[in-house]
C-alpha cells in the first residue's frame, strides 16, 4: 500500500491489539442476526451501539433546531451540531471547521461542487477528468454539467492490472483541464488509487482536484492537508454513521469563491424582496434545517473509528483482504477481478460457470451477504467486459471466520451447479 499519510495513531493508546471479535460485540445487528456473515460493508456499514444509542440520547436530551433558538436547548443542540463539524475537521485534518459542509452524502457533495463551483469556474471547452474506476455518482453530475455548460468530460483509463494508468492520466492533462474528480478507493475492485500523484500532476497543470472518499474514509487514515486535495467528499453511512449525512470538505478559499447552490433558511444573512445577502461558508451551502442528529451521529461514528485507531483499522482491513485473496484464489474456478494492484477492504470475484446473481442467491441461503451486480459502476463493467461481479467487502467487525464462510459458500455453489473442483 502506498500511503504518504502520517500514522499518528499507529499504536492504540492502551497498546491492545485490534480484536474484531470484541469490536463485533459493539454492533447490535450481529446479536440479533447471529448467523449473519455480512460482507457488504462497501455498500453500507453496520452501526455500533455508540452511534445508535448516542443519537437516541441526543434526541432525548439535547435536541432542538439549530442556529435560531435563543433558548438554552437550542443553544445546546447548536453546540452539538457545530462540535460535530469540529470533529469532522479534526478527523480529516482540515485547517478549519468552516471548510466542512454537511450534505446528505458523497453524491450530494459532488453535485454541490458541480452545480456551484462548475458554472462559476468552467467555460465551454474546459475539461473535467474522471477515471474509469468511478461510481456513477462521480460521472453523472459531470455529464449533467457537460450538457449545461458545454464542457468536456475526459476519462482516464485503467491499466491491465486494473489500477489507474498514471502515465496515460498525465498525458490527458493539459491547459484546458480545470478539474480532476477521482475516487480514492475504487468501490468495485477495492483498488487504492495513487491520489497523491494524481493531486500533484493535476496541480502542476493548475487544475483543482476532487477526491471521492466514500470507500477510503472507512478504511484509511485520510489527511486532506497532506493530500492537498481541493475537495474531498464522503458519506456517513459507509463509515459506521447514519444514513442521510455526508461531508464536503473544500479549501476555504474555494468555498469563499463559490456561489450558493440551494436557497432557503439558514444560508442567508438578510432577506428582502428586493435583495438577499448570504451567509459565509459553510452555512451558505446548508439551506434549510440540516440533518442535526445525523451530524451528531456521524461525529460519534468518527470518534468510534478513532477510538479503534484508524491505522489499526487499515491494517485489519489489509490483513483480511490478503486472507480473502489467498482463500478465494485457491478454489479452482475462482478468479479476482482486476487481479493486479493493491486492494483494501473490498474485492470483486468471479466463479467459472456461475453468474454473480446466482452466486448471491446461493450465498444468501448460507446467510452470507455479498453484493452482486454492476455496483453503480457500469462504465467500469463495460471496460472490464463483465456484466456483473460478486463483491465481498469488509468492516471493523469482519473476521477471518467470515472469509472462511464465504469460501465454503463458494464451494457449495460450485457443487450445486456441478462446476466443483476440477
Amino acid at each position: 500500500m502506498t500511503l504518504l499519510l502520517e500514522d499518528r495513531a499507529a499504536i492504540r493508546p492502551d497498546g491492545a491489539a485490534f480484536d474484531p471479535v470484541a469490536v463485533r460485540r459493539q454492533f447490535p445487528i450481529f446479536g440479533r442476526n447471529p448467523g449473519l456473515t455480512f460482507l457488504d460493508t462497501a455498500a453500507s456499514a453496520q452501526k455500533p451501539r455508540a452511534v445508535i444509542d448516542g443519537m437516541a440520547e441526543f434526541y432525548r436530551t439535547d435536541y432542538a433546531n439549530v442556529h435560531r433558538g435563543v433558548y438554552g436547548l437550542s443553544a445546546r443542540s447548536t453546540a452539538r451540531f457545530e462540535a460535530a463539524r469540529e470533529t469532522v475537521a479534526r478527523f480529516l485534518n482540515a485547517a478549519d471547521a468552516s471548510e466542512i459542509v454537511f450534505v446528505r452524502g458523497a453524491t450530494e457533495g459532488i453535485n454541490l461542487v458541480a452545480q456551484s463551483w462548475g458554472p462559476a469556474f468552467l467555460r465551454p471547452g474546459d475539461q473535467v477528468v474522471v477515471s474509469e474506476l468511478e461510481h456513477h455518482s462521480n460521472i453523472v453530475p459531470w455529464q449533467m454539467l457537460r450538457q449545461r455548460l458545454g464542457i468536456e468530460l475526459v476519462v482516464a483509463p485503467i491499466g491491465a492490472d486494473g489500477a489507474l494508468d498514471l502515465v496515460a492520466f498525465q498525458g490527458l492533462l493539459g491547459p484546458r483541464t480545470r478539474l480532476v474528480a477521482m475516487t480514492h478507493l475504487a468501490n468495485v475492485t477495492g483498488h487504492v488509487v495513487a491520489v497523491e500523484a494524481v493531486v500533484r500532476l493535476a496541480h502542476a497543470q493548475g487544475a483543482v482536484v476532487l477526491l471521492d472518499g466514500c470507500q477510503a474514509v472507512p478504511r484509511l487514515p485520510v489527511d486532506v492537508r497532506a493530500l492537498d486535495c481541493d475537495f474531498y467528499v464522503f458519506s456517513g453511512h459507509k463509515c459506521y454513521g447514519p444514513t442521510g449525512i455526508g461531508v464536503l470538505y473544500a479549501k476555504r478559499a474555494l468555498l469563499d469563491a463559490m456561489p450558493p447552490w440551494q436557497g432557503g433558511g439558514d444560508m442567508i444573512r438578510t432577506v428582502s424582496f428586493a435583495e438577499t445577502t448570504y451567509q459565509d461558508a459553510p452555512q451558505r451551502f446548508e439551506a434549510g434545517t440540516p440533518d442535526i442528529a445525523g451530524a451528531v451521529g456521524l461525529a460519534l461514528a468518527l470518534d468510534f473509528m478513532d477510538g479503534l485507531s484508524r491505522a489499526a483499522i487499515r491494517d485489519h482491513e489489509a490483513a483480511l483482504t490478503r486472507y480473502a485473496e489467498a482463500l478465494l484464489t485457491e478454489i479452482p474456478g475462482v478468479s479476482l477481478v482486476a487481479a493486479g494492484g493493491s486492494r483494501l477492504g473490498a474485492l470483486s470475484f468471479l466463479v467459472d460457470g456461475i453468474h454473480p446473481h446466482d452466486l448471491a442467491t446461493i450465498f444468501d441461503q448460507h446467510d452470507v451477504a455479498v453484493r452482486a451486480g454492476h455496483h453503480c459502476a457500469q462504465p467500469l463493467m463495460d471496460r472490464l467486459d463483465l456484466p456483473a461481479t460478486a463483491r465481498a467487502s469488509f468492516g471493523v467487525y469482519s473476521t477471518e471466520a467470515d472469509v472462511e464462510r464465504l469460501a465454503e459458500a463458494i464451494r457449495a455453489a460450485q457443487k450445486l451447479f456441478g462446476v466443483a473442483a476440477r
Partner: protein, 153 residues
C-alpha cells in the same frame, strides 16, 4: 426453502446449454431487454407468419435463471399464435409473482414445461430474472417490428 427448488436440474441444464441461443438471420421482430439491476442483457428475435411465431431465438448474457427462462420460453412459444404466447406469459407472470392465471387446456403442456421456473417466486429479488425474456418478447411483438426482414449477420 431448499435451493434445489430454485435450481432444478432442468434450470441448470438450460442455463448451461440454452436452446435457440442464436440470432435469427431474417427476423420480422426483435427487441433488446436489459435488467439494469444485475446487468443482464437479452435480445429476442422473432419471425412471424401472420400472427404465428414460426421462428424464435435469443442472445445475451445473464444468470442461470434468466438464461434458462429465455431458453424455455423459446421452446414453448414456437409455432404458437401471439394470443397463445400472451396467454402463456400471463400465466407465467402470475405464477412467479404469486398471482397465477388460468391457462387454456390447449396450453396445459406448455404451462407444465415452465413450472420448474416458478420456484423463483420464493426469491423476490430474482423474479425479474425469470421474466426478462418474456418482457422482451412482448416488446419485440409490440414495438420491434421491422419494415422488411433484415440480415443481422
Amino acid at each position: 426453502m431448499d435451493l434445489r427448488d430454485l435450481y432444478q436440474d432442468i434450470i441448470l441444464d438450460h442455463g448451461r446449454s440454452p436452446r435457440n441461443f442464436r440470432a435469427l438471420a431474417t427476423p420480422s421482430h426483435f427487441a433488446h431487454g436489459h435488467n439494469p439491476l444485475c446487468g443482464d442483457k437479452v435480445t429476442v428475435f422473432l419471425r412471424l407468419d401472420g400472427d404465428r411465431i414460426v421462428d424464435v431465438s435469443f442472445e445475451g448474457k445473464g444468470c442461470a435463471i434468466s438464461t434458462a427462462s429465455a431458453s424455455l420460453m423459446t421452446e414453448v412459444v414456437l409455432n404458437k399464435t401471439l394470443a397463445e404466447a400472451e396467454a402463456l406469459f400471463g400465466h407465467f407472470h402470475g405464477a412467479v409473482t404469486g398471482g397465477g392465471g388460468d391457462l387454456p387446456v390447449a396450453l396445459a403442456e406448455e404451462g407444465e414445461r415452465l413450472q420448474p421456473l416458478t420456484g423463483v417466486k420464493a426469491y423476490p429479488t430474482r423474479v425479474k430474472c425469470a421474466t426478462l425474456a418474456w418482457h422482451t418478447l412482448e416488446a419485440a411483438v409490440k414495438g420491434g417490428g421491422l419494415p422488411v426482414p433484415v440480415k443481422t449477420e
